[in-house]
């Protein structure tokens, strides 16, 4: 009788328990992401992060009136790095700098916050799809896979994109279940924003949308439904405007090149690398369980959304095969996809678990297992963040920038295409081909005469800077040209500057 009483008191469904759990989870997810907050953004895809950092600084310095003239001009000039996507996050950060001063970690806070908000939307979605218990576990997976912790605190548009994708999925599912105009507009808003922030979101958003239309609503019914047309219109409108403007002005044309390599589809290594990256993102067990979840999903209610998402992700991979297998952050969206796909599986298992285990001990064990899993994953992420301190890099590049004079004409084989030099050294530079660049061009079928290219690229330049010695040593032609034709301007164990003005 005592046992029954305890079970009644402790396990009677209490909505506030789930809310408290969710708040704690979101707070913990945010807390792990602001660990080592002020370290430089060189831990994950530094090129892309510095691209955004330079852009944001350039925007900010337009408002800074008390900086030295050369610095202000340099910031604005160096911040003009072109556009890959609309600079949404950069604009937010730059405007924040106006209140706080320039602190790179502000971008980390924003990205982490966006990811956490995405977690909230994911919880709401999974709860509607399955149950509170499944929602808690799915949200924990989303928030605490180590790759996700690292990759969601970066100065890149991807965390915001993923958060907006999740919100769009939630509103899509709500629309599927209610057919209300509120959810039509919200889906269009979130989906359109997701695609605007980073256009590759189109694969997941449209994939889910098409899945719901074909699987849950039916094609004929959807064609006759004005809500569907409004949703489609709202999805494409923001990006269409931006894309047309970008194409006309020429700034976006180049990004479509060097990305589509269909011959990679025939290479088995493509699929192995894909699987490796996917497993790195979520863990093999998670995405595999997610696939099983799709099979367990209810045919008309759950499966269309999930299947549409997975097909969208797969289409994404086939469209950008080279980057998909070389750029790990392309797999950030698979984290919420896998977490969401767990829902049907979790629903089945948790239901059976509670049927078989009415007592408190098994439930306590389950909770402890979940907490243990979260703690271990958080520890892995923390260890990875703690292992390297990049703060000294700022001083290193400042030294080089001072040596070059900040306004010299420089070409270099340096880290991250010269972005580190630009950001901390306040010195612009053009980039000589890295080994990866050469490989990519050969893959695209281009034949490069390196010596001729070198002659063309150094024309008019004052210095050739080398900091990536591994790439330098892998290009004996260029190494020989430099050593035999140009004196050394400055040299240490970590950098080498050739004087191109006095051959």
């Amino acid at each position: 009788m005592k046992k029954a009483l305890i079970n009644t008191i402790i396990f009677r469904e209490r909505p506030w328990m789930w809310k408290v759990a969710l708040v704690l989870i979101l707070l913990a997810g945010f807390a792990i992401r602001i660990y080592d907050l002020t370290d430089l953004p060189l831990d994950f895809n530094p090129t892309r992060q510095l691209f955004s950092a330079l852009k944001a600084r350039g925007m900010y310095y337009r408002y800074v009136t008390d900086a030295p003239v050369w610095q202000r001009e340099a910031a604005i000039r160096l911040g003009d790095v072109g556009n890959i996507e609309p600079p949404v996050l950069e604009t937010i950060v730059a405007q924040t700098y106006r209140l706080t001063g320039e602190h790179l970690w502000i971008a980390r806070v924003y990205s982490s916050l966006f990811w956490i908000l995405g977690g909230l939307a994911l919880f709401l979605l999974i709860r509607e799809l399955a149950s509170n218990g499944a929602a808690i576990i799915g949200t924990l997976v989303y928030l605490f896979v180590p790759f996700g912790i690292i990759a969601s605190r970066v100065f890149m548009p991807d965390p915001l994109m993923v958060a907006l994708i999740i919100f769009s999925l939630w509103t899509l599912f709500r629309w599927q279940n209610t057919s209300k105009w509120k959810w039509v507009i919200l889906f269009g808003l979130f989906g359109g924003l997701a695609i605007l922030v980073k256009n590759v979101a189109v694969f997941m958003v449209v994939g889910a949308f098409v899945g719901v239309i074909l699987g849950a609503r039916g094609l004929k019914r959807s064609i006759r439904d004005p809500q569907v047309w409004v949703m489609g219109f709202l999805l494409v409108l923001p990006t269409a405007i931006y894309t047309v403007f970008g194409t006309v002005s020429g700034s976006l044309v180049d990004q479509l090149a060097l990305r589509f390599f269909p011959k990679m589809w025939l290479d088995p290594a493509f699929y192995f690398r894909w699987q490796n990256l996917m497993s790195s993102a979520t863990g093999f067990g998670v995405w595999m369980a997610g696939i099983v979840g799709v099979f367990l999903a209810e045919k008309r209610r759950e499966r269309p959304l999930l299947l549409g998402l997975w097909i969208g992700y797969i289409a994404f991979g086939f469209t950008f095969p080279y980057h998909f297998t070389t750029h790990d952050y392309y797999h950030l969206p698979v984290i919420p996809i896998a977490a969401l796909s767990l829902a049907p599986l979790l629903k089945v298992v948790i239901t059976r678990f509670f049927e078989r285990n009415p007592g408190w001990f098994p439930r306590l064990v389950l909770v402890m297992l979940v907490i243990f899993g979260v703690a271990v994953q958080s520890w892995y992420a923390r260890a990875r963040l703690a292992v390297t301190d990049y703060r000294n890099e700022a001083f290193f590049w400042a030294e080089i920038g001072d040596k070059l004079g900040h306004d010299a004409s420089v070409i270099g084989l340096t880290s991250d295409y010269g972005y580190r030099l630009a950001y901390w050294g306040w010195q612009g530079s053009s980039s000589w081909y890295s080994g990866g660049d050469i490989a990519l061009r050969y893959l695209a079928g281009e034949n490069i005469d390196l010596a001729q290219k070198f002659t063309e690229d150094v024309a008019g330049k004052q210095y050739f800077l080398v900091t990536v010695f591994s790439d330098f040593n892998d290009q004996p032609v260029i190494k020989d040209l430099l050593y035999s034709h140009y004196p050394i301007y400055a040299e240490t164990d970590e950098y080498l500057i050739f004087d191109l003005q006095n051959p």
Partner: protein
């Protein structure tokens, strides 16, 4: 075909995916066993130098010694040498697999080292059959198929069970004992009583660590199923325990008492302090994650709660046993990953219930989805094997034996100490030379973890002399160790002349100091 297993609280026959068609079931079983066996026989004749080399070659040397001892017309000198080389290795457990391999050499007419892979594969397959039968009874045919697939195709298990180790045989006996014990709990007959005791005893005899999974299972299941009083007064329980104890006790207490003491004194007691160090648990988990995937491990533990109470206790007993194994040998559990081989079976058994549940639900889906799922599962299984294949075929070691034979030919016939790969086992097995092993730098690190201190500086020759003993020559093939032990490098170069030198070895003459 039996599709109803232990569902005492459910009168309905559960749906099963693989139980719907005998052809499908047998086809999947054939595919799983074919993949499991086929992989393990891949690159069959490649020398066992990929993983756990020193341990494999120690067994190989032992098997060779036994073979030559039994070989009727062996050259007496070679026989003597083979026996001496085998005796240079210490074995803590009875050399059962080695004896089987030696007998196989006699039957095959020669020392074909790859024969051990046939035996370890056979052990693992027999264990798989027991596992399938056990999980099928505990859950359903669906749970059994998934458990068997995991057991046969996990990359860690694939590569480790190709090794010349006692573990595959131990796991086989453990699984057979678990099945027998399951049947004993169900039937309480004398047949299963005796079989359980004997099989458990054989498991513990093969490797004493089998006691860790078996003891908690037998004790806990009895207590939860029959209660304390009935257990204590049950003669069959005591007969089982007695048989399980007598068989290994015969060896470990009466025939080779020093092996147990040696193990405890060297690997267990000095490292118990590590249990207070959180870094130990983190490293353990990290290695588990690498070989087993932590999400699957946690899923397996949670899955045990879907079982009927007594079988849940059995699974939890297995997990408790694995935990006890880990804390009893804290230095070995992740530095010698083959100690985790029983975990393959434990996870497989544990996954049975969740697999049965999930596949049961899948069986209610339309035919297209069922076919698609099975197709994807088979692709996944094939992929797992293919990824394991890389490790097996990546390196061809067939030229290694000749290299060590050549080195052995250069070594003078005098007592020799050395720092060579795998504690001198490559020289022992392929070069037919036994040398005294000088400690590696990482052995000294491990010693420090156990609380030992070493005064290793070039001015203090005590440590050096203590390990060199009366050796006349010092051979080094791990040249990086000279940089890792700079005091040693200074002593050797300052005090001794070089007898012979090549690209990959140096031999110092200790008989003529400078």
């Amino acid at each position: 075909m039996k599709t109803v297993q232990n569902y005492p609280d459910n009168d309905q026959v559960p749906h099963t995916l693989f139980g719907q068609s005998r052809i499908l079931l047998y086809a999947c079983l054939i595919i799983l066993f074919a993949l499991g066996i086929g992989f393990r026989l891949l690159n069959l004749t490649n020398p066992p130098l990929d993983i756990h080399t020193w341990r494999q070659l120690a067994s190989a040397s032992f098997a060779r010694g036994m073979y030559y001892e039994m070989l009727p017309h062996a050259d007496p000198q070679i026989r003597q040498q083979a026996i001496q080389l085998a005796a240079a290795n210490v074995h803590d457990e009875p050399t059962i697999t080695e004896a089987l391999v030696a007998v196989s050499y006699l039957v095959a007419g020669g020392e074909y080292l790859w024969i051990f892979r046939l035996w370890t594969t056979l052990f693992w397959v027999i264990g798989g059959m027991a596992l399938f039968a056990l999980v099928r009874r505990m859950t359903s045919v669906d749970g059994a198929i998934v458990a068997l697939g995991y057991y046969l195709l996990l990359p860690f298990g694939n590569t480790t069970t190709r090794c010349f180790l006692p573990e595959p045989l131990m796991v086989m006996w453990v699984l057979l004992a678990l099945f027998a014990f399951y049947r004993w709990v169900e039937t309480q007959t004398w047949k299963w009583t005796i079989l359980t005791g004997l099989l458990a005893g054989l498991a513990v005899l093969t490797k004493v660590f089998a006691v860790f999974p078996l003891a908690p299972v037998i004790i806990l299941v009895n207590l939860t199923t029959f209660g304390l009083r009935r257990t204590v007064t049950n003669l069959k329980f005591w007969i089982t325990v007695a048989l399980a104890g007598v068989v290994p006790a015969t060896y470990y207490i009466f025939l080779a008492p020093e092996s147990a003491g040696g193990y405890l004194g060297f690997w267990v007691l000095p490292f118990l302090g590590r249990l207070k160090d959180i870094a130990f648990y983190i490293s353990w988990l990290h290695h588990l994650n690498g070989s087993f995937n932590l999400a699957i491990v946690l899923m397996a533990v949670a899955s045990t709660f879907l079982l009927e109470k007594r079988w849940r206790v059995m699974c939890l007993g297995l997990w408790i046993g694995y935990g006890l194994l880990g804390v009893s040998v804290p230095e070995l559990i992740y530095s010698h990953m083959y100690y985790n081989l029983p975990l393959v079976a434990i996870i497989a058994i544990s996954l049975g219930s969740i697999s049965a549940l999930v596949l049961g639900r899948l069986s209610e889906q339309g035919r297209l989805w069922r076919v698609l799922f099975i197709g994807i599962a088979l692709v996944g299984a094939g992929y797992s094997v293919f990824m394991s294949r890389k490790e097996v075929v990546a390196v061809d070691y067939r030229l290694e034996p000749q290299k060590w034979q050549e080195l052995a030919a250069r070594l003078p016939h005098a007592p020799t100490v050395g720092i060579t790969e795998e504690y001198g086992m490559l020289l022992n097995y392929y070069g037919w030379r036994s040398i005294r092993a000088y400690p590696y730098s990482f052995d000294q690190d491990m010693g420090r973890m156990a609380g030992h201190e070493f005064d290793v500086n070039a001015d203090n020759l005590d440590y050096f002399n203590g390990h060199v003993g009366n050796s006349s020559y010092f051979v080094i093939t791990m040249l990086s160790e000279l940089d890792s032990q700079p005091y040693l490098k200074k002593i050797l170069y300052d005090h001794y002349t070089i007898y012979d030198q090549g690209d990959w070895y140096i031999i110092f003459d200790l008989t003529n100091p400078k």
